[in-house]
Symmetry: C2
Subunit: 288 residues, 2 copies
């Protein structure tokens, strides 16, 4: 008989997998911890895999072969992702959030742990295949979202600074065109922060014209780092043409009207399309 | 018979509790989800409580009465907390981390999700009783640690900025004496960010003389907010007398010698004392 009962094993495995997203845990390590046969653990894994799927708790994958094991990813279903972003869009669509200049106050949602964790999981779910080595963001407001994306991907986060700081050591400084495109600003990244040949995922809270993202893209060139994607929580519909390509955003701001107090903000089309596709697929399965 | 089997309930409850630290979940809500009798759920709760304790997975509390339910807190054992901080101190004690001016490069550990999550759990564990309404930090390097502390406490994080930004709206600006005490700097906090009468926990990555923390303390006075504690990941042994009182730090830097390349950094005394006390208590229990 197994030393640790199945009930216990399932709860402990759930906790350990959940605490370490995108980390491969070998059955051998669980076998050692529990004193269980690998056949029991295979059954446990299948059990958890189905349970997580049924209750929308994320995705458990089993990998066979030499590097075999199990891995948890906090991937939401397309419908759940859309629901999260829709509810976020609704909650920031309030006239009371409009600031002078047509800006939208979002600092509170951007540093609510629950919100950024859900957003980070949605962003990460789109880039597991791209296998980034780190998440890159520029200070300050995007840091929590970038952090939670990095957590879900199980990679470090790297912060680009506005200026060179003594406690960052030697740094590469570059100039970039600010949002309005009218003046030049500086960004700075510690030389130790990243390594040549790595792969970066750029994550930020907001994009208008894409000047900051273009700056980060240029910065990565200086470090000979490949950028595998650019993802922001919110972008504006205008200008349609951004200074960078292949940008994914979760929400789109169509307009913010200071005079009438109207805010038009919606989930991005790809989220709707994904939820729609899932619905159709589910219907096919039901018919089959 | 229960609609959802015990095996399944235990794994799902583990995932849900673990995903929502310091949130009270009622047995009623689980009863609805599982179609189970509350007596079954009480047994499940006791089971998980003991299991989490045995495997050092954090703390599950049961609350009786009208607001009754269960709550998970990612509280590490004193020995685990000490081990985490000791290993962190060892990993940053490398001569290669010394920067010109005697600074220590720590940006990588400060934005490693695993490290800051563990650090956030340790910090939070010291302030559950103080019941802060939010975690306050000043940009930039302390944000990830503050975020993970806020996550463990289940409260929002609030970021003090170096200057007033258009997307933060009307703000309160105050001047403070910078670390060296030689010049005056400005910090800015959006008027919407916090409410009168709330309770703040100040969290930052580093403290030398405490100038920044004193600034945040003064800022909170402007908002009529009570500060329930100040906690930093790393502080310097010198100056012994900081500009603020009741500071808790996890690590203490005794010296960084640019010439010899020697770095002396150690876990704070309170962590050693807590681990020691636990050891003695455990021995008493064993004897009893």
């Amino acid at each position: 008989m197994d030393r640790v009962r199945r009930n216990e094993r399932l709860a402990i495995m759930t906790k350990m997998l959940s605490d370490s997203p995108n980390e491969i845990m070998t059955l051998g390590s669980f076998s050692e911890l529990f004193g269980s046969a690998k056949s029991s653990l295979s059954e446990d894994t299948d059990f958890l895999k189905n349970l997580f799927q049924e209750y929308h708790l994320g995705q458990i994958d089993t990998m066979t072969g030499a590097s075999g094991g199990i891995r948890f990813r906090p991937v939401p279903t397309p419908a759940d992702a859309l629901a999260t972003v829709s509810s976020l869009a609704a909650s920031v669509s309030s006239p009371s959030r409009i600031l002078p200049g047509g800006y939208l106050y979002m600092s509170d949602v951007l540093s609510s742990p629950k919100v950024v964790e859900a957003v980070g999981a949605i962003i990460a779910s789109q880039y597991y295949r791209a296998e980034p080595d780190f998440v890159l963001t520029m200070e300050t407001k995007g840091i929590p979202v970038a952090m939670m994306t990095a957590r879900a991907l199980n990679v470090p986060m790297v912060i680009v600074r506005r200026e060179n700081k003594v406690y960052e050591g030697p740094a590469v400084n570059i100039n970039y065109l600010s949002g309005s495109g009218t003046h030049v600003e500086t960004m700075s990244l510690s030389r130790r922060a990243v390594k040549e040949g790595q792969r970066a995922l750029i994550v930020d809270d907001f994009m208008r014209a894409g000047g900051t993202a273009k700056g980060m893209l240029d910065m990565m060139k200086e470090f000979s780092v490949t950028v595998v994607g650019i993802c922001v929580l919110t972008s504006t519909a205008e200008p349609v043409k951004k200074r960078v390509e292949n940008v994914r955003s979760l929400m789109v701001i169509d307009s913010v009207d200071e005079l009438t107090g109207e805010v038009s903000i919606r989930p991005a089309g790809w989220l709707l399309a994904a939820a729609d596709k899932q619905k159709k697929d589910d219907m096919k399965t039901d018919k089959g």
